[in-house]
């Protein structure tokens, strides 16, 4: 899933302060799953903004809504009337959702209420961690199913570096050294010899360094 976190309230407050009638719009998919912007957080955040405005004597109405996803035009269009009826939308979706809104509502200011954090997994309730960097050219076959691009602090393809100690990364005792994990897993799989090969330089163009990415499936598109 894509993980998100809600922005600090101070930041939200600031960016929203220029608009009287504000729609707080949740996204009921990844954002909800990250507890950043589902229906529940919409309710909470709207209440906070209302209180803050009342305290500081600012005017304005705070509307609440949530849609299944903000990254699809058809879904976004469903709340068109509501959006047109307010001065700005505080989107609690990821950056993609915010931009889809901006695209569909060219005359409306769309504000991001969340930070898109990473592509990751749920370790347990309330704990997520990064797993994939979306590099566009998956190498997990060569690294025992553990991604050094997303999980090695230095994105080493021929790790581990000299900072790996007791299975932890040099940057923090709380971060696993993924190369240690890769070695452990290869040992289990009896494929340690894979490490003797020098991993060649990576082509970063599919990772976004080749310009904004787009994907087309010819037989699907209209």
């Amino acid at each position: 899933m894509i993980t998100l976190e809600q922005k600090q309230f101070a930041q939200i407050k600031e960016m929203a302060s220029h608009y009287d009638r504000l729609l707080v719009l949740g996204c009921q998919t990844c954002s909800a799953m990250s507890f950043a912007g589902g229906e529940r957080e919409v309710k909470e955040l709207a209440s906070m903004i209302r209180m803050e405005r009342k305290i500081s004597g600012k005017p304005g109405d705070i509307l609440e809504d949530a849609i299944a996803r903000q990254c699809d035009p058809e879904l976004v269009d469903l709340i068109g009337d509501k959006v047109r009826g307010c001065d700005a939308v505080l989107s609690l979706a990821c950056g993609a959702g915010v931009q889809m809104l901006a695209e569909r509502f060219p005359d409306k200011m769309i504000l991001p209420g969340c930070n898109t954090t990473f592509l990751g997994v749920t370790e347990e309730l309330g704990v997520w961690s990064e797993r994939c960097a979306g590099c566009g050219d998956c190498i997990l076959d060569k690294t025992a199913g553990l991604c050094p691009i997303a999980r090695c602090s230095k994105q080493l393809l021929n790790g581990p570096c000299g900072g790996s100690v007791n299975g932890k990364c040099e940057i923090s005792k709380d971060v696993d050294c993924v190369w240690q994990l890769i070695i452990d897993r290869l040992a289990r799989l009896n494929r340690l010899e894979m490490l003797e090969e020098i991993f060649p330089v990576k082509d970063w163009s599919p990772a976004g360094h080749g310009g904004p990415r787009k994907m087309i499936i010819e037989d699907l598109k209209s």
Partner: protein, 691 residues
């Protein structure tokens, strides 16, 4: 049966399912837990016309199936009903008003539970009802069968009076078949008749010497005692029979002078039809029980009974479980007795039937349709023991209620519906893991009267629950079918519910579909609160309800200078008077009661502030009373989070507090006073709209 299959079955809590009149015990149990006793009684009365009576002598099949029983012991449902029905609030209850008069007149024959229930419901429907009773007192077997030490007469009378208050006329000393007939009643303008005449003849043993003086009949004996006829026994009494009636006979015998009472029955101890608890109480009082003997003949000495000879009974039931006693005629035992009371069953006195052209069945009962209770004679309905054979008060009430519905349709000239709701006939089992994870709480027990005191009178054996005990007991209910329901259209398969459930009730399929077994769920509320898309609805204390209560409480307290919303866990050890005391001592505190603080979301807290509260506190129950103590830490962290949210909007975080309730009472005075002091030192809430 598996619960998870889509089914058209109505989901009834086991307790309701087991009750012949489908009493929603859960409903009034919850109300008792919330210390809303009057409402509990209202709820009972809307379902049961004889609440006080049933609270004492109902055989409570609900308890046998109570889900709590799968964990430890069933909820003491009967005792709770008696508690609710008996409390001082009963006199404050407002009488339910019948519908406007329909102009129809109905005669009810027999004032037993079936007749009274029919009369009650018919009266509510606006019909004019007259109850005709052969005996000088009303109540049927409740009055002349069930001894008063189990059901005090004034309790029964009070119930009957409530029915009379609906406009029902009860005429005693009127025998149907003699004093009135179908014809005469029709002539008098009665358009329908209900026959609930019960079973008032004792079954005979049909052995030699049965008509000797000194041989008494069980129900006759009880009736005579009940009607105050001079019945005194002395010396030794043998009671033949092993059922509940025999027990009542034996215990009554002790109360009218018998020195030794011996119960002799065919069945082995564990086969005896009498309830175990009843046998136990009888033994406590000195009744001896001898098993596996069947009477062969009564022994005579100079024209009077001297004893009874028994043959040994080798086996009572056949392979199919049908009653089919086998004897060893060679093994005979004689026992001396001054009196023998035969209590082996009852039969109907249908002497009126022939005259009135009613059909008697092979089993000696009246013929009637089992669902509509119509007899072959138009406008005549029948129900209760006389149709079903010996049953129970609640079954008789059920029959009376059903008859009322049929009669109402009949009177309105409509065809009587025959459909019955499809309900499951079996209670599902809880998964072992859930049983293990469910916290056990011992069933509240109260000591009965000491034996000497019991025997010296007919005063009631069991004392009632105190308020404390009743609420504690009510809080043991596991809220069957009041729990989480997933709105599958909204669910995004995030698995939060599955991860957060302390009992691990939710399950997920390969395609991500969440299933929450509504029987297994205990309505703790955690999943409904945490579900990020709010796809879970919960019936017990739903979140939206809590927020509304907060709003209401604040809106109605605008005259107060400072407002403090206090969320209280109902599991705390407090009484109604503590609530009153809170209101008096701390008028600024607006209490919002919930079944557990785990139900209070941050948004509820924020809501309170948004509505203008100066402070909010959460008072959690003492850990030893918390059914889900594992949630405690999460609640604290959630509250801490809410505090940072308050600070972010510019409110002092010290306006929000969480504390534990004391071992007794609602609040630790110190903490409340401290909070109030703190609030007073602050500016009033900037969010309060002053009028």
């Amino acid at each position: 049966m598996t619960r998870n299959e889509p089914s058209t079955e109505i989901e009834y809590a086991p307790c309701k399912l087991a009750c012949p009149i489908l009493t929603d015990a859960r409903e009034y149990i919850q109300l008792i837990a919330e210390r809303r006793f009057e409402e509990a009684l209202t709820a009972i009365m809307s379902q049961n016309p004889l609440p006080r009576t049933c609270g004492r002598i109902c055989t409570h099949p609900c308890e046998q199936v109570c889900k709590r029983g799968q964990v430890d012991e069933p909820v003491a449902i009967a005792a709770l009903k008696r508690f609710a029905a008996d409390g001082p609030w009963k006199d404050r209850l407002r009488q339910v008003l019948p519908k406007a008069s329909s102009g129809h007149k109905v005669a009810v024959v027999g004032s037993g539970p079936s007749g009274l229930a029919a009369a009650h419901d018919l009266a509510l429907l606006g019909h004019t009802v007259t109850v005709l009773e052969k005996l000088p007192i009303a109540g049927g077997m409740m009055a002349v069968g069930i001894p008063s030490y189990r059901l005090p007469r004034d309790v029964l009378e009070a119930d009957i009076r409530t029915i009379e208050d609906l406009g029902v006329e009860v005429k005693t000393g009127v025998t149907f078949g003699n004093d009135v007939t179908v014809e005469s009643l029709t002539g008098d303008g009665y358009q329908a008749i209900f026959l609930g005449t019960g079973l008032h003849l004792s079954r005979r043993l049909n052995v030699e010497g049965e008509d000797l003086p000194g041989v008494l009949k069980g129900v006759d004996f009880l009736r005579d005692v009940a009607l105050g006829k001079p019945v005194t026994l002395d010396a030794s009494v043998i009671v033949v029979g092993g059922g509940n009636v025999a027990i009542d006979v034996a215990r009554t015998a002790l109360r009218v002078g018998a020195r030794d009472v011996l119960m002799v029955c065919l069945e082995k101890q564990e086969e005896m039809p009498a309830a175990e608890s009843e046998i136990e109480e009888a033994r406590e009082e000195g009744v001896a029980v001898v098993n596996c003997f069947g009477p062969k003949r009564f022994l005579e000495n100079s024209g009077r009974l001297s004893g009874i000879e028994f043959k040994s009974c080798t086996c009572v039931f056949d392979e199919k479980g049908a009653f089919c006693p086998q004897y060893d005629e060679n093994e005979l035992t004689a026992m001396d007795a001054d009196t023998v009371i035969v209590a082996i069953g009852q039969a109907a006195d249908l002497s009126f039937a022939e005259k009135d052209g009613l059909t008697v069945t092979r089993r000696g009962g009246l013929e009637a349709d089992p669902i509509t209770l119509q007899t072959p004679i138009a406008g005549v309905f029948a129900g209760g023991d006389v149709i079903s054979g010996p049953a129970t008060v609640t079954k008789a009430i059920a029959a009376g209620k059903r008859a009322a519905v049929s009669i109402d349709f009949y009177l309105r000239g409509e065809s009587i519906p025959r459909s019955e709701p499809a309900i499951a006939d079996q209670v599902a089992s809880l998964p072992p893991g859930v049983i293990e994870r469910t916290r056990q709480f011992a069933r509240s027990k109260i000591a009965g009267l000491p034996v000497e005191q019991r025997l010296s009178s007919f005063s009631e054996v069991g004392p009632p629950f105190s308020e404390d005990l009743a609420t504690k007991e009510a809080l043991r209910c596991l809220h069957c079918y009041l729990g989480a329901r997933v709105n599958k259209e909204k669910c995004i398969s995030c698995l939060t519910c599955l991860r957060v459930c302390p009992l691990q009730v939710p399950t997920v399929s390969k395609v991500g579909e969440i299933t929450i077994d509504p029987f297994v769920c205990q309505a703790c509320g955690m999943c409904a609160l945490e579900c990020p898309v709010q796809a879970i609805e919960i019936s017990l204390d739903p979140g939206g309800e809590i927020a509304r209560e907060v709003e209401k409480a604040i809106a109605s307290s605008q005259h107060l200078e400072r407002l403090i919303v206090g969320f209280f866990d109902l599991h705390g050890n407090f009484a109604k008077k503590d609530l009153k005391g809170l209101r008096e001592d701390y008028p600024n505190v607006l209490p919002v009661m919930t079944f557990g603080l785990r139900r209070i979301d941050r948004s509820d807290i924020l809501k309170a502030f948004e509505c203008g509260a100066d402070a909010v506190f959460l008072a959690g129950c003492p850990p030893n009373r918390d059914p889900f103590p594992e949630a405690g830490d999460r609640i604290k962290r959630r509250t801490a989070h809410a505090r940072t949210q308050l600070e972010a909007v510019g409110l002092d975080g010290r306006r929000l507090e969480i504390f534990d309730m004391p071992d007794e009472g609602l609040v630790e005075k110190g903490s409340i006073t401290e909070l109030i002091q703190r609030i007073k030192e602050m500016e009033p809430s900037p969010l309060r709209v002053r009028r």
